[in-house]
């Protein structure tokens, strides 16, 4: 049944292009997020395993 629906999808390359674009958007957002993170917060986080106060 699903195959019937799927065969009707045209131009399947759009999947590949679409998701590559999606990846770059995500990558840019994450990078911007990351570089704006507060330094104290980063210091706290990276010391978590070491249990340093």
């Amino acid at each position: 049944m699903f195959e019937e629906y799927l065969t009707s999808i045209e131009n399947q390359n759009i999947f590949a292009i679409g998701v590559t674009v999606l990846f770059f958007i995500m990558f840019v957002l994450i990078s911007i997020w990351t570089f704006r993170i507060n330094k104290k917060y980063i210091k706290d986080m990276e010391n978590l395993p070491l249990d340093k106060k």
Partner: protein
């Protein structure tokens, strides 16, 4: 973490469960030894076929999946659980959610491993690499994984630490993705208690399998180990990770990209071109986040390299992270079509995966064990000298393993492709290419022996360490409870400063990871499921006859595809050697696909009608009687055992339910057809002077081998 919003709360006393960590640690050691021992046996079987002991339970085809499953799911699997149960409790400042679930998880996982070893040895296999286990065990795996997931997320939900450290993100991605992969790749129709057919066929099955197979590497051998690296490397070096920011970027990029790369296992195959290209592009892009992890690991030791000289633990970890970097550079290179054309199906791939398994997984596990066991037993390591000895013999072991395999892989490939000036194959007999690399197989075995010796020394060292200390089963700890209401002490300036909000919301975090993984999975798989447009059907391709079908199941049972591919690639060197290249439409009734991934022996897709029935009969009984020097084990039991035809009806029914066009009612007369075809082959063999009856398994196997690839051969 010092968190100003929690500091005002009273300290709560609790204890960490170290006993479950100890249990998984012991299981890691036991299954590591077993898995590597089976690996050694396999290595030397390729030099001395007599080492299969003429027993069906110990032949190469059956024990190869025991080795791979034991290393991946038993050795590495238990090491993952050991590391997660130790680090998660501490990073969450909470005991595991439920001691009972921890125990069920532990014993459930160990029973799966035992069942796996038994059933694989008995020949119950789906033949899908790293997912060979039959359907009852698949269900058990899903149940145990759910129990682990409940215990895992339960611990996170009752944590006393507001934010989730990066290691936990990697664990979350692992728990979620493995569940998805396992379920999708295990959708099969049961025929009997230990036999099932995949719902997918041919090219679709190949794509689903390598989407699974590649991501088993990604989300079982990589992401959980990166999580362990992010916890245990800073612990061992006593310094924070080099760049926490880098870890955020590389985490999201890695889990987004990894899921796409599966089709690089199927380059030049009958898979549609666009899917192959997608696999290559995303594999190349993967270098960046993979190396992000490696750089983060290695630079954590910046300014502390003097410690590496003295500490065996850090030595193991540095080599592990370096091996990770090498394997994750080599992987994308192997996914380039021109490199893949040379490397695929050869020992190069065996070298590549062992750089990952011996270097990355093995050495990181050893480093963690040497750090962890003294902590669990409140003592010092019994012998640093022995640990250093282990490091060097293990390191030599990796070199002695990998270098001969690279050498052998390239030699094979060059010999397979070598033409004479007249334009004919220089080595038309495949066996010549095998005999050429036999010494390499021997040296590889020695490398494995070195590595194994190191592991035995480690086991001794750790037992002595445990004996000189005493287990701290309950490790006391205290931390303030989390406040129900939480406000950021530092207000995010903008929407872009909100990643940390995600880090304190595990459920949302899990869902986002799941969505990313599903996007990759769906986009990769859905278009190929559109079978009509992607896989041209071929009118002359017909379903297997009942006898061929039974023969095919024997082929699967004996693990023939561990050494023989069924995929002729569109290269002149391959069409000259084997015949017409393989078409997607030829596999539409193959549940499961049997392309294989390695050519220790020749490709068999065009084997049908190449040799007389007698040749196959003699070859299976004693390969060296017709191919002097062959390293294939003998299969004498197939000549003795009576074919079980009681399953024919159920098999026809099951295959029809997944789309193979057997006519309704055919299952009732299938065994009559089976008998007729068996009689024809038997009479032919009897004419050659053989004393044989038509009810033996070998007759079915010959029927299948003679059918292979003949559908599109001109009659």
């Amino acid at each position: 973490m010092s968190n100003s919003s929690t500091e005002n709360f009273a300290l709560e006393k609790f204890s960490y469960d170290n006993k479950i960590v100890r249990d998984f640690m012991v299981a890691t050691l036991v299954w590591g030894v077993v898995g590597m021992l089976v690996g050694l046996l396999l290595a030397f079987q390729l030099v001395h076929p007599a080492l299969s002991f003429n027993l069906q339970y110990t032949t190469f085809g059956r024990i190869r999946p025991i080795h791979t499953n034991a290393i991946i799911f038993a050795f590495v699997g238990n090491a993952i659980f050991m590391g997660i149960y130790y680090s998660l409790q501490r990073l969450c400042k909470a005991r595991m959610f439920s001691d009972l679930l921890s125990k069920i998880h532990f014993w459930g996982w160990q029973s799966i491993i035992v069942l796996a070893a038994l059933t694989l040895s008995l020949g119950f296999t789906s033949s899908k690499e790293y997912a060979e286990l039959e359907w009852p065990i698949d269900i058990l795996i899903a149940l145990v994984w759910v129990i682990f997931a409940i215990n895992f997320f339960g611990t996170i939900l009752k944590r006393r630490e507001r934010h989730l450290y990066v290691a936990i993100w990697f664990y979350i991605a692992t728990v979620v993705t493995i569940a998805v992969l396992h379920i999708v790749n295990s959708i099969e129709i049961p025929v009997t208690l230990f036999k099932s057919y995949m719902v997918y066929a041919g090219v679709q099955d190949a794509l689903v399998q390598w989407w699974y197979g590649h991501n088993a590497v990604a989300f079982f051998l990589t992401t959980p180990y990166l999580g362990l690296m992010y916890y245990f490397l800073p612990k061992a070096a006593n310094r924070p990770v080099y760049s926490y920011k880098l870890s955020i970027v590389h985490f999201w990029s890695l889990i987004f990209l990894y899921i796409w790369a599966g089709p690089h296992h199927l380059l030049y195959s009958a898979l549609p071109d666009w899917a192959q290209s997608l696999g290559t592009v995303f594999s190349i892009m993967l270098i960046a986040p993979s190396w992000g992890g490696m750089i983060n690991g290695l630079l954590t030791l910046r300014g502390a390299w003097d410690k590496v000289r003295d500490s065996a633990i850090l030595k193991f970890m540095v080599v592990a992270v370096t091996a990770y970097g090498m394997a994750t550079f080599e992987g994308p290179m192997l996914s380039l079509k021109n490199v893949n054309a040379i490397a695929h199906f050869t020992d190069w791939i065996i070298a590549h995966v062992h750089i990952g398994a011996l270097g990355w997984n093995g050495f990181l596990t050893f480093g963690i064990l040497y750090w962890l066991v003294p902590k669990l037993y409140n003592t010092d390591l019994y012998s640093k000298k022995l640990a250093n000895f282990h490091f060097w013999i293990g390191f030599l072991g990796i070199l002695f393993y990998a270098i001969p395999m690279y050498w052998s892989g390239i030699t094979q490939s060059l010999m397979w492709k070598q033409f004479t000036p007249e334009g004919i194959l220089q080595y038309p007999n495949f066996l010549e290419t095998v005999l050429q690399i036999k010494p390499m197989y021997f040296i590889r075995g020695i490398g494995g022996l070195f590595y194994f010796a190191g592991v035995i020394v480690m086991v001794y060292n750790l037992i002595k360490t445990a004996k000189q200390g005493s287990l701290i089963a309950e490790e006391e700890a205290e931390a303030p409870a989390l406040s129900k209401t939480y406000s950021e002490t530092i207000k995010p300036k903008a929407i872009f400063a909100r990643h940390r909000i995600l880090e304190r919301r595990p459920v949302q975090f899990m869902l986002l990871s799941l969505v990313l993984v599903l996007i990759g999975g769906l986009v990769e798989i859905i278009p190929t499921m559109a079978i009509k447009s992607n896989i041209p059907t071929i009118a002359s391709v017909k379903p297997y006859t009942p006898l061929e079908l039974q023969g095919r199941d024997i082929y699967i049972r004996e693990g023939c595809l561990g050494c023989h591919s069924q995929l002729v690639r569109p290269f002149r060197s391959e069409t000259e050697r084997y015949g017409e290249y393989s078409k997607a439409g030829e596999y539409v009734y193959d549940h499961p696909f049997t392309w294989g991934s390695k050519r220790t022996g020749p490709d068999l897709h065009r084997e049908g009608l190449k040799y007389p029935n007698l040749w196959h009969y003699l070859h299976m009984d004693d390969p060296r009687s017709v191919s002097p020097g062959s390293i294939m084990p003998p299969y004498p039991w197939i000549h003795r055992q009576v074919l079980d035809i009681s399953t024919t009806e159920a098999k026809i029914n099951a295959l029809r339910s997944v789309g193979v066009p057997y006519e309704i009612g055919y299952e009732k007369i299938a065994n009559t057809d089976l008998q007729q075809q068996a009689d024809i082959i038997t009479k032919d063999l009897q004419k050659q002077g053989l004393d044989i009856t038509s009810d033996k398994e070998i007759i079915a196997l010959i029927a299948y081998l003679q059918r292979l690839g003949t559908d599109i051969k001109p009659k």
